[in-house]
Protein backbone atom coordinates (compact mmCIF):
# COMPACT_ATOMS: atom_id res chain seq x y z
CA UNK A 1 0.00 0.00 0.00
CA UNK A 2 1.16 3.53 -0.65
CA UNK A 3 0.92 6.27 1.97
CA UNK A 4 -2.48 7.49 0.76
CA UNK A 5 -3.90 3.96 0.95
CA UNK A 6 -2.40 3.45 4.39
CA UNK A 7 -4.03 6.68 5.65
CA UNK A 8 -7.35 5.55 4.23
CA UNK A 9 -6.92 2.17 5.89
CA UNK A 10 -6.21 3.84 9.23
CA UNK A 11 -9.40 5.86 8.79
CA UNK A 12 -11.35 2.66 8.10
CA UNK A 13 -9.89 1.18 11.26
CA UNK A 14 -10.98 4.20 13.26
CA UNK A 15 -14.53 3.93 11.95
CA UNK A 16 -14.62 0.26 12.91
CA UNK A 17 -13.36 1.12 16.39
CA UNK A 18 -16.19 3.60 16.92
CA UNK A 19 -18.79 1.13 15.67
CA UNK A 20 -17.36 -1.66 17.84
CA UNK A 21 -17.27 0.43 20.99
CA UNK A 22 -20.74 1.82 20.46
CA UNK A 23 -22.10 -1.71 20.06
CA UNK A 24 -20.15 -3.07 23.01
CA UNK A 25 -21.19 -0.15 25.23
CA UNK A 26 -17.88 -0.33 27.11
CA UNK A 27 -14.19 -0.24 26.29
CA UNK A 28 -11.35 2.15 25.70
CA UNK A 29 -11.73 4.85 23.07
CA UNK A 30 -8.79 7.22 23.44
CA UNK A 31 -5.90 4.77 23.21
CA UNK A 32 -7.53 2.65 20.52
CA UNK A 33 -8.11 5.62 18.22
CA UNK A 34 -4.72 7.08 19.06
CA UNK A 35 -2.85 3.98 17.98
CA UNK A 36 -4.72 3.34 14.72
CA UNK A 37 -1.88 4.75 12.63
CA UNK A 38 0.79 2.70 14.40
CA UNK A 39 -1.18 -0.52 14.00
CA UNK A 40 -1.93 0.26 10.35
CA UNK A 41 1.75 0.87 9.75
CA UNK A 42 2.70 -2.40 11.45
CA UNK A 43 0.27 -4.67 9.64
CA UNK A 44 -0.17 -2.98 6.28
CA UNK A 45 3.12 -1.12 5.91
CA UNK A 46 5.27 -4.25 5.44
CA UNK A 47 6.66 -4.07 8.93
CA UNK A 48 5.40 -7.15 10.75
CA UNK A 49 6.04 -10.47 9.06
CA UNK A 50 2.84 -12.53 9.25
CA UNK A 51 0.46 -14.78 7.32
CA UNK A 52 -3.17 -14.38 8.35
CA UNK A 53 -4.02 -17.68 6.68
CA UNK A 54 -1.30 -19.46 8.65
CA UNK A 55 -1.34 -17.72 12.04
CA UNK A 56 1.04 -20.25 13.61
CA UNK A 57 3.70 -20.24 10.89
CA UNK A 58 7.22 -20.54 12.22
CA UNK A 59 8.57 -17.50 10.38
CA UNK A 60 6.10 -15.05 11.86
CA UNK A 61 7.08 -12.06 13.97
CA UNK A 62 5.62 -11.80 17.46
CA UNK A 63 3.33 -8.89 18.25
CA UNK A 64 2.68 -8.35 21.95
CA UNK A 65 0.10 -5.81 23.07
CA UNK A 66 0.99 -5.08 26.68
CA UNK A 67 -1.48 -2.21 27.14
CA UNK A 68 -4.09 -4.65 26.05
CA UNK A 69 -7.08 -2.49 26.91
CA UNK A 70 -6.67 -0.85 23.49
CA UNK A 71 -7.43 -4.20 21.87
CA UNK A 72 -10.30 -2.77 19.77
CA UNK A 73 -7.73 -1.29 17.40
CA UNK A 74 -5.83 -4.57 17.27
CA UNK A 75 -8.96 -6.63 16.70
CA UNK A 76 -9.99 -4.28 13.87
CA UNK A 77 -6.56 -4.49 12.25
CA UNK A 78 -6.43 -8.28 12.58
CA UNK A 79 -9.84 -8.56 10.95
CA UNK A 80 -8.82 -6.27 8.10
CA UNK A 81 -5.62 -8.31 7.74
CA UNK A 82 -7.72 -11.44 7.24
CA UNK A 83 -7.34 -13.29 10.53
CA UNK A 84 -11.09 -13.51 11.06
CA UNK A 85 -14.26 -12.10 9.44
CA UNK A 86 -14.94 -8.39 9.95
CA UNK A 87 -18.52 -9.11 11.03
CA UNK A 88 -17.17 -10.61 14.25
CA UNK A 89 -15.93 -7.19 15.34
CA UNK A 90 -19.45 -6.37 16.50
CA UNK A 91 -19.28 -9.17 19.08
CA UNK A 92 -16.67 -7.34 21.16
CA UNK A 93 -17.13 -7.95 24.90
CA UNK A 94 -20.24 -10.05 24.43
CA UNK A 95 -20.73 -13.33 26.28
CA UNK A 96 -19.17 -16.16 24.27
CA UNK A 97 -17.33 -13.84 21.91
CA UNK A 98 -13.78 -14.60 20.80
CA UNK A 99 -13.17 -10.87 21.18
CA UNK A 100 -12.91 -10.61 24.94
CA UNK A 101 -12.70 -7.21 26.66
CA UNK A 102 -8.97 -7.81 27.05
CA UNK A 103 -7.39 -10.30 24.66
CA UNK A 104 -7.50 -14.02 25.43
CA UNK A 105 -4.73 -15.85 23.64
CA UNK A 106 -6.64 -19.00 22.88
CA UNK A 107 -9.55 -17.29 21.16
CA UNK A 108 -8.08 -15.02 18.51
CA UNK A 109 -5.65 -16.13 15.82
CA UNK A 110 -2.73 -13.75 15.61
CA UNK A 111 -2.72 -13.02 19.35
CA UNK A 112 0.31 -14.54 21.06
CA UNK A 113 -0.54 -13.79 24.69
CA UNK A 114 -3.48 -12.79 26.78
CA UNK A 115 -3.12 -9.34 28.27
CA UNK A 116 -4.73 -6.62 30.26
CA UNK A 117 -2.79 -6.33 33.46
CA UNK A 118 -0.30 -3.59 32.72
CA UNK A 119 3.41 -4.14 32.82
CA UNK A 120 3.56 -7.80 31.87
CA UNK A 121 3.82 -7.75 28.09
CA UNK A 122 7.31 -6.32 27.82
CA UNK A 123 8.72 -9.14 29.96
CA UNK A 124 6.93 -11.71 27.83
CA UNK A 125 8.38 -10.03 24.74
CA UNK A 126 11.84 -10.24 26.34
CA UNK A 127 11.42 -13.97 26.92
CA UNK A 128 10.48 -14.50 23.27
CA UNK A 129 13.25 -12.29 21.95
CA UNK A 130 15.78 -14.01 24.18
CA UNK A 131 14.72 -17.42 22.90
CA UNK A 132 14.88 -16.39 19.23
CA UNK A 133 18.29 -14.82 19.71
CA UNK A 134 19.98 -17.36 21.95
CA UNK A 135 18.26 -20.71 21.57
CA UNK A 136 16.51 -20.84 18.22
CA UNK A 137 18.85 -18.59 16.23
CA UNK A 138 15.81 -17.32 14.35
CA UNK A 139 15.58 -13.87 12.87
CA UNK A 140 11.92 -13.39 13.75
CA UNK A 141 11.26 -10.00 15.28
CA UNK A 142 9.40 -9.19 18.47
CA UNK A 143 7.22 -6.07 18.48
CA UNK A 144 5.90 -5.00 21.86
CA UNK A 145 3.36 -2.24 22.26
CA UNK A 146 3.07 -0.53 25.61
CA UNK A 147 1.49 2.62 26.93
CA UNK A 148 3.17 5.50 28.75
CA UNK A 149 1.00 5.22 31.87
CA UNK A 150 2.04 1.60 31.97
CA UNK A 151 5.61 2.73 32.64
CA UNK A 152 4.51 3.48 36.20
CA UNK A 153 4.75 -0.28 36.75
CA UNK A 154 8.11 -1.38 38.13
CA UNK A 155 8.00 -4.51 36.01
CA UNK A 156 8.45 -2.42 32.86
CA UNK A 157 11.80 -1.31 34.20
CA UNK A 158 12.72 -4.86 35.22
CA UNK A 159 12.13 -5.86 31.62
CA UNK A 160 14.00 -2.82 30.30
CA UNK A 161 17.03 -3.74 32.41
CA UNK A 162 16.86 -7.34 31.23
CA UNK A 163 16.60 -6.35 27.56
CA UNK A 164 19.50 -3.94 27.90
CA UNK A 165 21.70 -6.46 29.70
CA UNK A 166 20.99 -9.17 27.15
CA UNK A 167 21.21 -6.83 24.15
CA UNK A 168 17.88 -8.00 22.78
CA UNK A 169 18.31 -6.27 19.41
CA UNK A 170 15.42 -8.27 17.94
CA UNK A 171 13.00 -6.52 20.24
CA UNK A 172 11.30 -3.25 19.32
CA UNK A 173 9.05 -1.63 21.89
CA UNK A 174 6.55 0.95 20.66
CA UNK A 175 5.21 3.14 23.42
CA UNK A 176 1.96 5.01 22.98
CA UNK A 177 3.03 8.39 24.35
CA UNK A 178 -0.37 10.03 24.54
CA UNK A 179 0.30 11.73 27.86
CA UNK A 180 -2.88 10.52 29.49
CA UNK A 181 -3.89 7.94 32.02
CA UNK A 182 -7.05 7.40 34.03
CA UNK A 183 -6.45 9.94 36.77
CA UNK A 184 -5.20 12.66 34.43
CA UNK A 185 -2.13 13.66 32.46
CA UNK A 186 0.86 11.39 32.92
CA UNK A 187 3.15 14.20 33.99
CA UNK A 188 0.72 15.12 36.77
CA UNK A 189 -0.02 11.60 37.95
CA UNK A 190 3.53 10.21 37.84
CA UNK A 191 5.97 12.11 35.64
CA UNK A 192 7.89 9.98 33.17
CA UNK A 193 10.22 12.56 31.66
CA UNK A 194 13.03 12.44 30.81
CA UNK A 195 11.80 9.21 29.20
CA UNK A 196 14.25 8.93 26.31
CA UNK A 197 17.24 9.43 28.61
CA UNK A 198 15.94 6.83 31.04
CA UNK A 199 15.71 4.15 28.35
CA UNK A 200 19.05 5.14 26.88
CA UNK A 201 20.66 4.74 30.27
CA UNK A 202 19.21 1.20 30.37
CA UNK A 203 21.07 0.38 27.15
CA UNK A 204 18.32 0.98 24.63
CA UNK A 205 18.27 2.86 21.35
CA UNK A 206 15.41 5.38 21.33
CA UNK A 207 13.58 6.95 18.39
CA UNK A 208 10.89 9.62 18.74
CA UNK A 209 8.18 9.67 16.08
CA UNK A 210 4.96 11.45 15.29
CA UNK A 211 2.53 8.64 16.09
CA UNK A 212 0.21 9.80 13.32
CA UNK A 213 2.74 9.99 10.52
CA UNK A 214 2.56 6.54 9.01
CA UNK A 215 5.66 7.00 6.86
CA UNK A 216 7.68 8.11 9.85
CA UNK A 217 6.44 5.14 11.89
CA UNK A 218 7.37 2.66 9.17
CA UNK A 219 10.76 4.32 8.80
CA UNK A 220 11.43 4.05 12.54
CA UNK A 221 10.40 0.38 12.58
CA UNK A 222 12.76 -0.43 9.75
CA UNK A 223 15.50 1.62 11.40
CA UNK A 224 15.04 -0.37 14.62
CA UNK A 225 15.82 -3.52 12.66
CA UNK A 226 19.23 -2.17 11.75
CA UNK A 227 20.24 -1.42 15.33
CA UNK A 228 22.38 -4.32 16.53
CA UNK A 229 23.54 -4.81 20.11
CA UNK A 230 20.54 -2.90 21.55
CA UNK A 231 16.80 -3.20 21.80
CA UNK A 232 14.91 -0.20 20.40
CA UNK A 233 12.15 1.90 21.91
CA UNK A 234 10.02 3.89 19.49
CA UNK A 235 8.23 6.63 21.39
CA UNK A 236 5.12 7.26 19.32
CA UNK A 237 3.76 10.67 20.23
CA UNK A 238 0.03 10.43 19.76
CA UNK A 239 -3.11 12.38 20.41
CA UNK A 240 -5.53 10.36 22.52
CA UNK A 241 -8.78 9.98 20.61
CA UNK A 242 -7.12 11.05 17.36
CA UNK A 243 -9.50 11.43 14.46
CA UNK A 244 -12.57 12.32 16.51
CA UNK A 245 -12.42 16.02 17.33
CA UNK A 246 -14.52 16.02 20.47
CA UNK A 247 -12.45 13.18 21.94
CA UNK A 248 -8.97 14.46 21.10
CA UNK A 249 -6.68 15.32 24.03
CA UNK A 250 -9.35 14.52 26.67
CA UNK A 251 -8.29 11.88 29.18
CA UNK A 252 -11.87 11.21 30.17
CA UNK A 253 -12.16 9.22 26.95
CA UNK A 254 -9.54 6.74 28.12
CA UNK A 255 -12.12 4.28 29.41
CA UNK A 256 -15.29 5.78 27.99
CA UNK A 257 -17.20 4.81 24.88
CA UNK A 258 -19.46 6.97 22.69
CA UNK A 259 -23.20 6.63 23.04
CA UNK A 260 -25.31 6.44 19.83
CA UNK A 261 -25.42 10.20 19.31
CA UNK A 262 -21.71 10.59 19.99
CA UNK A 263 -20.92 7.63 17.75
CA UNK A 264 -22.85 9.28 14.90
CA UNK A 265 -20.87 12.48 15.46
CA UNK A 266 -17.62 10.54 15.57
CA UNK A 267 -18.33 8.65 12.35
CA UNK A 268 -19.35 11.87 10.61
CA UNK A 269 -16.08 13.40 11.74
CA UNK A 270 -14.09 10.42 10.46
CA UNK A 271 -15.96 10.23 7.15
CA UNK A 272 -15.41 13.88 6.47
CA UNK A 273 -11.79 13.70 7.62
CA UNK A 274 -12.41 16.23 10.34
CA UNK A 275 -14.73 18.44 8.32
CA UNK A 276 -12.40 18.71 5.34
CA UNK A 277 -14.92 16.96 3.06
CA UNK A 278 -17.72 19.49 3.07
CA UNK A 279 -20.53 17.37 1.63
CA UNK A 280 -20.19 14.81 4.42
CA UNK A 281 -20.34 17.34 7.22
CA UNK A 282 -23.63 18.91 6.13
Amino acid sequence: MNTKELCEKANEIRKDIIKMLEEAKSGHSAGSLGMADVFTALYFGDVVKYDAKKPDCEERDMVILSNAHICPVWYAVLAHAGYFPKEELMTLRKLGSKLQGHPYRQSVPGIETSGGSLGQGLSIACGMAYSFQNFDKKDNWVWCLTSDGEANEGQIWEAAMFAGKNRLFNLTQIMDRNNIQIDGYTEDVMPLEPLKEKYESFGWHVIDVDGHNIEEIIGACHKSKTIFEKPTLIIAHTIPGKGVEFMEWRYCWHGKVPNSKEAQEALKCLRSLGGKIKSESE
Binding site: T113, Q120, S123, F135, Q155, E158, M161, F162
Partner: protein, 323 residues
Protein backbone atom coordinates in the same frame (compact mmCIF):
# COMPACT_ATOMS: atom_id res chain seq x y z
CA UNK B 1 4.22 -49.09 49.36
CA UNK B 2 7.92 -49.69 48.78
CA UNK B 3 9.03 -47.33 51.53
CA UNK B 4 12.42 -47.60 53.30
CA UNK B 5 13.11 -50.35 55.80
CA UNK B 6 13.75 -48.19 58.89
CA UNK B 7 10.71 -46.05 58.18
CA UNK B 8 9.92 -45.36 61.82
CA UNK B 9 13.46 -44.86 63.08
CA UNK B 10 14.05 -41.22 62.29
CA UNK B 11 17.63 -41.22 63.56
CA UNK B 12 18.53 -44.11 61.25
CA UNK B 13 17.18 -42.43 58.14
CA UNK B 14 19.29 -40.44 55.69
CA UNK B 15 18.34 -36.74 55.76
CA UNK B 16 18.42 -34.75 52.56
CA UNK B 17 16.80 -31.45 51.61
CA UNK B 18 13.95 -31.76 49.11
CA UNK B 19 15.50 -28.95 47.07
CA UNK B 20 18.46 -31.24 46.32
CA UNK B 21 16.03 -33.55 44.57
CA UNK B 22 14.91 -30.59 42.49
CA UNK B 23 18.43 -29.60 41.55
CA UNK B 24 19.37 -33.11 40.45
CA UNK B 25 16.14 -33.61 38.53
CA UNK B 26 16.75 -30.40 36.60
CA UNK B 27 20.08 -31.74 35.36
CA UNK B 28 18.43 -35.01 34.33
CA UNK B 29 15.67 -33.16 32.51
CA UNK B 30 18.23 -30.92 30.88
CA UNK B 31 20.04 -33.94 29.49
CA UNK B 32 16.80 -35.44 28.13
CA UNK B 33 15.37 -32.33 26.52
CA UNK B 34 17.18 -29.34 25.07
CA UNK B 35 14.05 -27.21 25.50
CA UNK B 36 14.41 -27.24 29.28
CA UNK B 37 15.47 -23.75 30.40
CA UNK B 38 16.10 -22.73 34.00
CA UNK B 39 15.63 -19.20 35.33
CA UNK B 40 17.05 -17.86 38.57
CA UNK B 41 16.32 -14.71 40.51
CA UNK B 42 19.56 -14.23 42.42
CA UNK B 43 18.98 -17.35 44.55
CA UNK B 44 20.61 -19.81 42.22
CA UNK B 45 22.68 -21.71 44.77
CA UNK B 46 20.00 -21.82 47.39
CA UNK B 47 17.40 -23.15 44.96
CA UNK B 48 19.90 -25.72 43.68
CA UNK B 49 19.72 -24.37 40.13
CA UNK B 50 23.47 -23.96 40.12
CA UNK B 51 23.94 -27.62 39.23
CA UNK B 52 21.94 -27.09 36.03
CA UNK B 53 23.73 -23.83 35.47
CA UNK B 54 27.08 -25.59 35.63
CA UNK B 55 26.04 -28.35 33.16
CA UNK B 56 24.15 -26.14 30.76
CA UNK B 57 25.31 -22.55 31.24
CA UNK B 58 23.71 -21.45 27.98
CA UNK B 59 20.31 -22.64 29.13
CA UNK B 60 20.34 -20.82 32.42
CA UNK B 61 18.93 -17.29 32.56
CA UNK B 62 19.62 -14.95 35.45
CA UNK B 63 16.98 -12.26 35.91
CA UNK B 64 18.22 -10.81 39.19
CA UNK B 65 15.91 -9.90 42.08
CA UNK B 66 12.89 -9.38 39.85
CA UNK B 67 10.24 -11.99 40.37
CA UNK B 68 7.52 -10.39 38.26
CA UNK B 69 9.92 -10.27 35.34
CA UNK B 70 10.93 -13.86 36.18
CA UNK B 71 7.38 -15.15 35.78
CA UNK B 72 6.67 -13.32 32.54
CA UNK B 73 9.99 -14.06 30.88
CA UNK B 74 9.26 -17.70 31.67
CA UNK B 75 5.84 -17.23 30.08
CA UNK B 76 7.40 -15.73 26.96
CA UNK B 77 9.80 -18.65 26.67
CA UNK B 78 6.98 -21.15 27.10
CA UNK B 79 4.87 -19.42 24.47
CA UNK B 80 7.64 -20.01 21.90
CA UNK B 81 8.01 -23.67 22.79
CA UNK B 82 10.50 -23.82 25.62
CA UNK B 83 9.99 -25.58 28.96
CA UNK B 84 11.08 -23.07 31.60
CA UNK B 85 11.63 -23.80 35.29
CA UNK B 86 11.53 -20.54 37.25
CA UNK B 87 12.96 -20.80 40.73
CA UNK B 88 13.06 -18.67 43.82
CA UNK B 89 11.65 -18.75 47.36
CA UNK B 90 7.94 -19.44 47.79
CA UNK B 91 7.38 -16.11 49.53
CA UNK B 92 8.51 -14.32 46.36
CA UNK B 93 7.00 -16.71 43.85
CA UNK B 94 4.01 -16.98 44.00
CA UNK B 95 4.08 -14.32 46.70
CA UNK B 96 5.33 -11.32 44.84
CA UNK B 97 4.29 -12.18 41.30
CA UNK B 98 0.83 -13.64 41.76
CA UNK B 99 -0.83 -11.41 39.12
CA UNK B 100 1.85 -12.38 36.60
CA UNK B 101 1.32 -16.07 37.36
CA UNK B 102 -2.43 -15.59 37.12
CA UNK B 103 -2.53 -13.91 33.73
CA UNK B 104 0.70 -14.62 31.85
CA UNK B 105 0.93 -18.22 33.01
CA UNK B 106 -2.38 -19.66 34.21
CA UNK B 107 -4.77 -17.73 31.94
CA UNK B 108 -2.42 -18.33 29.00
CA UNK B 109 -2.03 -22.03 29.95
CA UNK B 110 1.66 -21.40 29.41
CA UNK B 111 3.89 -24.44 29.97
CA UNK B 112 5.79 -22.85 32.85
CA UNK B 113 7.07 -24.74 35.92
CA UNK B 114 7.32 -22.53 38.99
CA UNK B 115 9.13 -23.62 42.08
CA UNK B 116 8.82 -22.18 45.55
CA UNK B 117 11.76 -23.18 47.65
CA UNK B 118 11.99 -22.52 51.40
CA UNK B 119 8.32 -23.18 52.03
CA UNK B 120 7.08 -23.71 55.57
CA UNK B 121 8.11 -22.57 59.05
CA UNK B 122 10.88 -25.13 58.84
CA UNK B 123 12.81 -22.45 56.93
CA UNK B 124 14.09 -21.49 60.37
CA UNK B 125 16.15 -18.52 61.51
CA UNK B 126 15.30 -16.19 58.59
CA UNK B 127 11.91 -15.69 60.15
CA UNK B 128 8.47 -14.66 58.98
CA UNK B 129 9.33 -12.77 55.82
CA UNK B 130 10.99 -15.87 54.41
CA UNK B 131 8.70 -18.58 55.74
CA UNK B 132 6.25 -19.22 52.93
CA UNK B 133 2.98 -20.34 54.49
CA UNK B 134 0.37 -19.20 52.01
CA UNK B 135 1.74 -20.42 48.68
CA UNK B 136 -0.50 -23.46 48.30
CA UNK B 137 -3.57 -21.34 49.00
CA UNK B 138 -2.79 -18.79 46.33
CA UNK B 139 -1.76 -21.23 43.63
CA UNK B 140 -4.43 -23.90 43.97
CA UNK B 141 -7.14 -21.28 43.48
CA UNK B 142 -5.83 -20.55 39.97
CA UNK B 143 -7.50 -22.40 37.10
CA UNK B 144 -5.14 -24.54 34.97
CA UNK B 145 -2.52 -24.70 37.74
CA UNK B 146 -1.14 -28.01 39.00
CA UNK B 147 0.18 -27.82 42.59
CA UNK B 148 2.56 -30.39 44.07
CA UNK B 149 4.14 -30.64 47.52
CA UNK B 150 6.49 -33.65 47.48
CA UNK B 151 7.31 -35.45 50.73
CA UNK B 152 11.03 -36.15 50.47
CA UNK B 153 14.15 -35.78 48.35
CA UNK B 154 13.34 -38.70 46.05
CA UNK B 155 9.73 -37.77 45.54
CA UNK B 156 10.82 -34.24 44.74
CA UNK B 157 13.09 -35.59 42.05
CA UNK B 158 10.27 -37.65 40.53
CA UNK B 159 7.82 -34.78 40.82
CA UNK B 160 10.17 -32.39 39.06
CA UNK B 161 10.70 -34.80 36.19
CA UNK B 162 6.97 -35.44 35.95
CA UNK B 163 6.34 -31.70 35.93
CA UNK B 164 8.84 -31.27 33.12
CA UNK B 165 7.10 -33.95 31.09
CA UNK B 166 3.53 -32.75 31.50
CA UNK B 167 1.89 -29.97 29.54
CA UNK B 168 0.69 -26.94 31.48
CA UNK B 169 1.49 -24.66 34.41
CA UNK B 170 2.88 -26.34 37.54
CA UNK B 171 3.82 -25.05 40.97
CA UNK B 172 6.13 -27.16 43.13
CA UNK B 173 6.96 -26.34 46.71
CA UNK B 174 9.81 -27.63 48.80
CA UNK B 175 11.40 -27.07 52.18
CA UNK B 176 14.77 -25.67 53.13
CA UNK B 177 16.22 -28.06 55.66
CA UNK B 178 17.25 -31.66 55.31
CA UNK B 179 14.33 -33.97 56.00
CA UNK B 180 14.10 -37.76 56.24
CA UNK B 181 14.39 -39.70 53.01
CA UNK B 182 11.73 -42.36 53.45
CA UNK B 183 10.54 -43.28 49.99
CA UNK B 184 12.59 -45.41 47.61
CA UNK B 185 13.20 -45.50 43.89
CA UNK B 186 10.46 -48.13 43.72
CA UNK B 187 7.83 -45.96 45.45
CA UNK B 188 5.43 -44.90 42.74
CA UNK B 189 4.76 -41.29 41.96
CA UNK B 190 2.14 -39.99 39.60
CA UNK B 191 0.83 -36.44 39.40
CA UNK B 192 -2.76 -36.48 40.60
CA UNK B 193 -2.48 -39.70 42.59
CA UNK B 194 -2.43 -39.83 46.39
CA UNK B 195 -0.81 -42.86 48.00
CA UNK B 196 -1.77 -44.77 51.12
CA UNK B 197 1.64 -45.05 52.78
CA UNK B 198 0.25 -46.88 55.76
CA UNK B 199 -3.08 -48.65 56.17
CA UNK B 200 -5.26 -48.12 59.23
CA UNK B 201 -8.84 -48.35 60.48
CA UNK B 202 -9.54 -45.59 63.00
CA UNK B 203 -8.25 -42.31 61.56
CA UNK B 204 -6.79 -41.10 58.26
CA UNK B 205 -3.95 -38.61 58.37
CA UNK B 206 -3.82 -36.86 55.02
CA UNK B 207 -0.52 -35.04 54.76
CA UNK B 208 1.83 -33.48 52.24
CA UNK B 209 5.47 -32.48 52.21
CA UNK B 210 8.00 -33.57 54.82
CA UNK B 211 5.13 -33.51 57.35
CA UNK B 212 4.15 -36.88 55.90
CA UNK B 213 7.02 -38.50 57.76
CA UNK B 214 5.97 -36.86 61.01
CA UNK B 215 2.52 -38.33 60.37
CA UNK B 216 4.01 -41.79 59.89
CA UNK B 217 5.98 -41.51 63.15
CA UNK B 218 2.84 -40.48 65.03
CA UNK B 219 0.91 -43.36 63.46
CA UNK B 220 3.55 -45.81 64.62
CA UNK B 221 3.38 -44.53 68.22
CA UNK B 222 -0.43 -44.39 68.26
CA UNK B 223 -0.53 -48.04 67.19
CA UNK B 224 0.98 -48.91 70.56
CA UNK B 225 -1.81 -46.91 72.21
CA UNK B 226 -4.42 -48.93 70.38
CA UNK B 227 -5.32 -46.46 67.64
CA UNK B 228 -4.96 -47.72 64.08
CA UNK B 229 -3.91 -44.84 61.84
CA UNK B 230 -3.92 -44.67 58.05
CA UNK B 231 -1.46 -42.26 56.46
CA UNK B 232 -2.05 -40.83 53.01
CA UNK B 233 0.61 -38.96 51.08
CA UNK B 234 -1.38 -36.26 49.29
CA UNK B 235 1.46 -34.77 47.24
CA UNK B 236 -0.68 -33.41 44.41
CA UNK B 237 -2.80 -30.74 46.02
CA UNK B 238 -4.31 -29.90 42.64
CA UNK B 239 -5.72 -31.81 40.85
CA UNK B 240 -6.48 -33.71 44.03
CA UNK B 241 -7.02 -37.46 44.02
CA UNK B 242 -10.54 -37.14 45.39
CA UNK B 243 -11.25 -40.86 45.00
CA UNK B 244 -8.43 -41.96 47.31
CA UNK B 245 -9.24 -39.27 49.88
CA UNK B 246 -12.94 -40.16 49.98
CA UNK B 247 -12.18 -43.90 50.14
CA UNK B 248 -9.89 -43.36 53.10
CA UNK B 249 -12.46 -41.21 54.91
CA UNK B 250 -15.12 -43.85 54.29
CA UNK B 251 -12.81 -46.50 55.71
CA UNK B 252 -11.82 -44.68 58.91
CA UNK B 253 -14.57 -42.12 59.53
CA UNK B 254 -12.20 -39.41 60.83
CA UNK B 255 -9.49 -37.29 59.23
CA UNK B 256 -6.51 -35.24 60.33
CA UNK B 257 -4.92 -33.08 57.65
CA UNK B 258 -1.28 -32.09 58.12
CA UNK B 259 0.97 -29.61 56.28
CA UNK B 260 3.59 -26.95 56.91
CA UNK B 261 1.27 -24.20 55.65
CA UNK B 262 -1.56 -22.02 56.94
CA UNK B 263 -4.65 -24.08 57.74
CA UNK B 264 -6.59 -21.51 55.76
CA UNK B 265 -6.62 -22.35 52.12
CA UNK B 266 -3.93 -25.03 51.97
CA UNK B 267 -4.02 -28.74 51.28
CA UNK B 268 -6.10 -29.36 54.39
CA UNK B 269 -8.73 -26.89 53.25
CA UNK B 270 -8.82 -28.59 49.88
CA UNK B 271 -9.43 -31.93 51.61
CA UNK B 272 -12.22 -30.37 53.67
CA UNK B 273 -13.85 -29.12 50.46
CA UNK B 274 -13.81 -32.61 48.97
CA UNK B 275 -15.10 -34.32 52.11
CA UNK B 276 -17.78 -31.74 52.88
CA UNK B 277 -19.22 -32.26 49.40
CA UNK B 278 -18.87 -36.03 49.23
CA UNK B 279 -18.46 -37.68 52.60
CA UNK B 280 -18.46 -35.34 55.63
CA UNK B 281 -16.46 -36.69 58.58
CA UNK B 282 -14.90 -34.95 61.58
CA UNK B 283 -11.66 -33.24 60.56
CA UNK B 284 -8.83 -31.80 62.65
CA UNK B 285 -6.30 -29.66 60.85
CA UNK B 286 -2.59 -29.58 61.58
CA UNK B 287 -0.98 -26.53 60.05
CA UNK B 288 -0.04 -22.98 60.93
CA UNK B 289 -3.00 -21.55 62.78
CA UNK B 290 -3.41 -18.13 61.19
CA UNK B 291 -0.16 -16.63 62.42
CA UNK B 292 3.09 -15.59 60.85
CA UNK B 293 6.26 -17.59 61.33
CA UNK B 294 9.25 -16.53 63.40
CA UNK B 295 12.95 -17.21 63.79
CA UNK B 296 14.11 -20.44 65.35
CA UNK B 297 15.62 -23.81 64.58
CA UNK B 298 13.61 -26.29 62.52
CA UNK B 299 12.87 -28.74 65.34
CA UNK B 300 11.80 -26.12 67.85
CA UNK B 301 9.66 -24.29 65.29
CA UNK B 302 7.83 -27.51 64.41
CA UNK B 303 7.01 -27.84 68.10
CA UNK B 304 6.12 -24.17 68.59
CA UNK B 305 3.77 -24.19 65.61
CA UNK B 306 2.24 -27.57 66.51
CA UNK B 307 3.39 -29.28 63.33
CA UNK B 308 5.36 -32.08 64.96
CA UNK B 309 4.60 -35.69 65.72
CA UNK B 310 3.26 -34.92 69.20
CA UNK B 311 0.80 -32.34 67.88
CA UNK B 312 -0.35 -34.74 65.21
CA UNK B 313 -0.96 -37.41 67.86
CA UNK B 314 -3.05 -34.98 69.88
CA UNK B 315 -5.10 -34.11 66.83
CA UNK B 316 -5.70 -37.78 66.10
CA UNK B 317 -6.97 -38.43 69.61
CA UNK B 318 -9.18 -35.35 69.41
CA UNK B 319 -10.76 -36.37 66.13
CA UNK B 320 -11.33 -39.93 67.32
CA UNK B 321 -13.28 -38.47 70.21
CA UNK B 322 -15.49 -36.62 67.74
CA UNK B 323 -16.50 -39.71 65.80
Amino acid sequence: MNLVKNLYQKDKLEQKPTRDGYGEALVELGKQNENIIVLGADLTGSTRCDWFQKEFPDRFIEVGIAEQNLACIAAGLALVGKIPFASTYSVFCPGRNWDQIRISIAYNKANVKLTGAHAGVSVGPDGATHQGLEDIAITRCLPNMTVIAPCDYLETKKATIAAGNMKGPVYLRFAREATPMFTTEETSFEIGKAQVFREGKDVSIIACGPTVHEALLSADELEREGISVEVVNNATVKPMDEKTIIESAKKTGAVVTAEDHQVMGGMGSAVCEVLAKNYPVPVEMIGVQDRFGESGQQEELMKEFHLDKESIKEAVKKVVGRK
